[in-house]
Symmetry: C2
DNA sequence: ATCACGGGAGAACGTTCGTTCTCTCTGGTT
DNA sequence: AACCAGAGAGAACGAACGTTCTCCCGTGAT
């Protein structure tokens, strides 16, 4: 197995485990057995758990934003499609909320690499929304609705929060012309 | 020191430490030295860390909701006052987001007592908002805005999110008459 | 005064975890 | 054939943590 394949398998295992159970409660041994990559190799590729966590967050950020972007683009970049995408995401059986918000809850501001990945993700999403609606204030309002819906859907286990946020978004957009 | 005072000091120390640093990264020894209560007494009052965490969340829930309720009541129960209260909360120097959302990130659905406290808190807040605006759909939309603003204010360290959410709330309320 | 009890301080125990080390094997090079 | 670089499996190490235990002291009852 070459380094590229080892990296890929490690990131896939890390994402599965960290997202489902949280970072702190998953040991490096669990990542090793899930990925089939030896501990020695693991530490060659990611010299510490913090490095693995930061890589997990960054790859998840890219996949997550790409999925959202493509879904919305297929709907003629209608901002309301964002909330339809949220509904699909909330309905996935292993949905457990926003990985970045959850990691913030686990680490707060303590781990620098983790904090940077969290900031970067939120900045990118906000920038995307601002491109989508071209009114920065409105975009920030929609962003707040997105985050609230995600938190509540995760805690209550109810995908219907996406519909609530969508209705609010429609009202806000209508009010702004 | 009697049991009542020990309980009080333990809960105060636990809240300070758990909220500031997260639950998992605070050991029982830290709670002991901060509170001045011996370990033996600690385990008499709270037989396990899970019990202490659940008690921390429940007392915080009550104090938090009382503070919100009183602030808003002093403003003639204007729903927009909720967002002014959020702005004050976000501006506190040790603000670190919603303790319940953070705990959800740490524990997910694993610890039953913790999960129950989280659900209870969110249910109570939603019920309060529904009483405040008397339109359940609108109340749920405001709830989503609150949660989103809290998450984003915590991650970005910017109390201004309260203003963004307030403006959105004003628009939504105007649209509903 | 003595004795029993409850409490405080902190050592001790068992487990978990991040990280490193050892041992062995394989596979390519000369 | 001899050798060596690297990899895998897993033991080992050191720290941290939740929880319990030991030892000692003070206090209140008899």
């Amino acid at each position: 197995m070459n380094t590229a394949e080892a990296t890929e398998r490690l990131l896939e295992a890390a994402e599965d485990l960290f997202y489902a159970q949280g970072v702190q409660s998953v040991g490096m041994d669990a990542v090793r057995s899930r990925s089939g990559v030896s501990l020695k190799r693991l530490y060659q590729v990611f010299p510490s758990k913090d490095d693995l966590v930061a890589a997990y967050l960054n790859t998840r950020d890219e996949r997550w934003r790409r999925s959202l972007r493509e879904f919305v683009a297929a709907r003629a970049d209608d901002p309301l499609a964002v909330f339809d995408w949220l509904h699909e995401w909330f309905s996935e059986p292993d949905f457990r909320g926003c990985a970045f918000v959850n990691s913030f809850g686990e680490f707060g501001t303590l781990a620098p690499g983790v904090a940077a990945a969290i900031h970067n993700h939120k900045d990118e999403v906000r920038a995307y929304l601002r491109r989508l609606v071209a009114d920065d204030d409105l975009a920030d309002q929609l962003f707040s609705l997105m985050e609230g819906a995600t938190v509540l859907a995760a805690i209550k286990g109810d995908p219907g929060e996406a519909g609530t946020a969508r209705a609010a978004a429609a009202t806000l957009m209508a009010a702004r012309g």
